[in-house]
């Protein structure tokens, strides 16, 4: 790994040299940036170094190579699908949806954490979001790219995918606006657009930092164009902050609506296991749950590899683990409530479905889903588990496996065992489907690794604005004063 040069850092004039910010002392705030990074210039230096280093760490090349190979596998599988037809997938009647829609819902769900961090935590004034929001937003966009691929390729004749949109055409045909599948088109395309706008808008001041530090002509030209001539004018910041607030306020109901609409794809139909009013909140909680698990999965290697431990601190990981615990509990509640309603409804089909889900021919998938999503996250009640990076990585990997299986169980067990036993049919994925799923991770990681190397990975301007010294009324002589805004104060010997 390439070390971060510390000799060209300006010494922090404010003397905040805390490494551990996981203490729970209500008398003082924990610092959001720890160590010698807690000065404006150090933030610029350390974060720009990720993109300005002559070459990235060796692990970056290895990861990029592996991801790029899988991206090509995905491309090859999609071409094979296009040239041959959907028969190369294992789907049949009644299993019209299987891996394709499972992957779609899985990736859209992953994409929910970024907007939650950037918009909802912004509205709640959660300042710790600044350390993680940029790459969580990037992750959102790349997850939505992966998600958008699957409905596009599963329509059979992919070259007619534009029929999804209300475009005047020579056939005089319009889409059916009563169908949740069309609502989905609007929800996901709106979500993708708004996420990109929000991400890019937040990045402009940081791209200007890259421009002003550029040493080569190409970097100057590229970041100069991307930063739109931003010069940090306060008359600009005034409008910018207002626009950012409004985008956050728009994105907040949007993010909740997107997975609600995705759940309507199921809930509006009549198949047992799908026809449930609890689906919208259940899907939204599950989406945030899996999204935060993916954020942690990406954050832990990234902070190790790129020297960002001072910005993505243990406290950030601890906070995210708490959100996983909360949303995981919501998901567990939904599972239990589904069982209860199946019993309480007295509908024989509903009762059969849930018996079949847990004890039928695919019981193992049902229990992977329940175990990984409803049981495993509860280890995060223990502080030791929330603050151990290996535990975090393992639990988050299990959560993502569990959430993929949740969608698979909902889709395939419901479709393969519907009302009439005469129409029952089992489903086996073909190798093409399995490789396309694995290839979608290649697409995701290829985009993410390129982002890490070429764009500002942490929102520098926002992190600077939450430092204690960013407050105009901050005074270094008032350290530890209870009124000093956000300042951490000195550690007492007991806390050390």
């Amino acid at each position: 790994m390439t070390a971060i040069p510390s000799d060209n850092l300006m010494p922090s004039p404010y003397g905040v040299a805390e490494r551990d910010n996981t203490f729970n002392n209500p008398a003082r705030r924990a610092p959001l940036v720890v160590g010698d990074s807690a000065s404006f210039h150090a933030i610029t230096e350390k974060i720009c170094y990720v993109a300005e280093a002559p070459r990235p760490p060796r692990a970056w090349y290895i990861a990029f190579g592996v991801a790029f190979i899988w991206l090509n596998v995905m491309g090859a599988m999609i071409l094979y699908l296009f040239f041959t037809g959907v028969g190369v997938w294992g789907m049949n009647r009644p299993n019209m949806w299987a891996f394709d829609i499972t992957n779609f819902v899985f990736w859209v769900g992953i994409g929910h954490a970024g907007t939650l961090i950037s918009a909802i935590l912004f509205l709640f004034r959660q300042k710790w979001r600044t350390g993680i929001n940029r790459f969580a937003e990037a992750m959102t966009i790349f997850a939505v790219v992966c998600a958008g691929t699957f409905p596009g390729i599963h329509v059979g004749r992919a070259w007619f995918a534009y029929w999804l949109f209300p475009i005047p055409n020579q056939m005089g045909l319009w889409p059916n606006f009563f169908s949740p599948l069309l609502w989905d088109v609007f929800a996901v395309s709106t979500y993708a657009t708004v996420s990109v706008l929000f991400w890019y808008m937040g990045m402009v001041p940081d791209l200007a930092t890259f421009r002003d530090r550029a040493v080569t002509k190409w970097r100057f030209l590229l970041y100069g164009i991307l930063s739109l001539g931003w010069r940090g004018s306060n008359r600009h910041w005034h409008v910018y902050e207002k626009a950012y607030l409004i985008l956050a306020a728009l994105a907040t109901p949007l993010v909740l609506s997107v997975h609600s609409v995705v759940s309507f794809d199921f809930a509006v139909s009549q198949i047992p296991g799908w026809h449930t009013t609890i689906f919208p909140p259940y899907f939204v909680a599950g989406a945030i749950f899996s999204g935060f698990a993916m954020v942690i999965t990406l954050a832990i290697p990234a902070r190790e590899l790129f020297g960002l431990k001072d910005f993505i601190t243990m406290r950030h990981l601890d906070n995210m683990a708490k959100i996983i615990l909360v949303t995981g509990s919501l998901v567990a509640y939904s599972y239990l409530m589904e069982w209860f309603i199946a019993y309480y409804s007295a509908s024989p089909f509903e009762r059969f479905h849930f018996m079949n889900r847990e004890f039928g021919n695919m019981f193992w998938a049902g229990w992977i889903m329940f175990g990984c999503n409803a049981v495993v996250p509860h280890v995060f009640w223990f502080k030791w588990c929330r603050q151990n990076k290996w535990m975090l990585m393992i639990i988050c990997a299990l959560v993502n496996v569990g959430m993929w299986f949740e969608r698979f169980v909902i889709i395939v067990t419901s479709l393969s065992r519907d009302f009439l036993p005469s129409s029952w049919h089992w489903y086996y994925p073909s190798y093409v489907e399995v490789l396309t799923l694995m290839g979608s991770f290649g697409l995701f990681f290829t985009l993410f690794l390129l982002f890490c190397r070429y764009l500002p990975m942490v929102a520098m301007a926002e992190v600077k604005s939450v430092l204690p010294q960013a407050d105009p009324h901050y005074h270094p002589d008032h350290q530890g004063h209870p009124g000093a805004s956000g300042y951490a104060g000195e550690l007492t010997p007991a806390e050390r």
């Binding site: 005089g172 059916n176 606006f177 929000f198 001041p205 739109l228 910018y240 902050e241 600077k464 105009p472």
Partner: protein
């Protein structure tokens, strides 16, 4: 190079004084300086910072932006368009043989009415959010008059730190109150780390 060989329109003109740039070390210093410049009655001046400084809008006397109202108007227009679109495309009243491409296409599904509000709510909502967000984004850059290819401040070497850790205040020479000597004296009273003339 003589004037005869070069067209007058492309001959570089002499750089003129564009403004005075003062550099500050902390947001607090900049805030107090901004209050003095505001009270001195300047109109064409600006503060330039690496991040939005809390309270600087008041210290500069910036009036609230009207961008939210623009977003509201366009968002409501988008809502109306979404309602109209959904009514139009599945309505039997808009069928037209002469304008076939834009003709409505009524779908009879499970005996449901051609028009009712509940199934149209998701698309109404999403389309409102989409148009509002696009307005917030593009409206922002229009309000800021960006992207912009060049700005006189970019010719000052020390100004490169504005996106890093330094805080600047600039008074433009075209301001009615501007006077090269007096304005410099006023800026010097605000304890800047440096003052520099900006030429354009």
């Amino acid at each position: 190079m003589s004037a005869a060989t070069v067209k007058p329109s492309i001959r570089p003109r002499e750089p003129r004084l564009w403004g005075l740039l003062a550099e500050y070390e902390t947001p607090g210093d900049l805030l107090h300086a901004a209050e003095r410049i505001r009270d001195a009655g300047f109109k064409k001046w600006d503060c330039l910072t690496p991040f939005p400084v809390h309270g600087l809008d008041n210290a500069m006397g910036i009036r609230r932006t009207k961008l939210p109202w623009v977003i509201l108007c366009v968002g409501l227009t988008g809502l109306c368009f979404a309602i109209f679109l959904q009514w139009y495309v599945n309505s039997p009243y808009t069928q037209s043989a002469s304008l076939y491409v834009l003709s409505g296409y009524p779908l009879t599904i499970s005996g449901k009415p051609y028009w009712s509000v509940p199934p149209n709510v998701p698309v109404m909502f999403e389309f409102t959010v989409l148009t509002s967000s696009l307005t917030a984004f593009y409206g922002l850059w229009m309000f800021l008059r960006l992207p912009r290819y060049h700005h006189p401040l970019f010719s000052v070497a020390r100004f490169r730190r504005v996106t890093d850790d330094k805080f600047f205040l600039v008074v433009e020479a075209t301001d009615e109150k501007f006077d090269a000597a007096n304005s410099r004296a006023l800026l010097e009273q605000t304890h800047p780390a440096a003052i520099e003339e900006v030429k354009d």
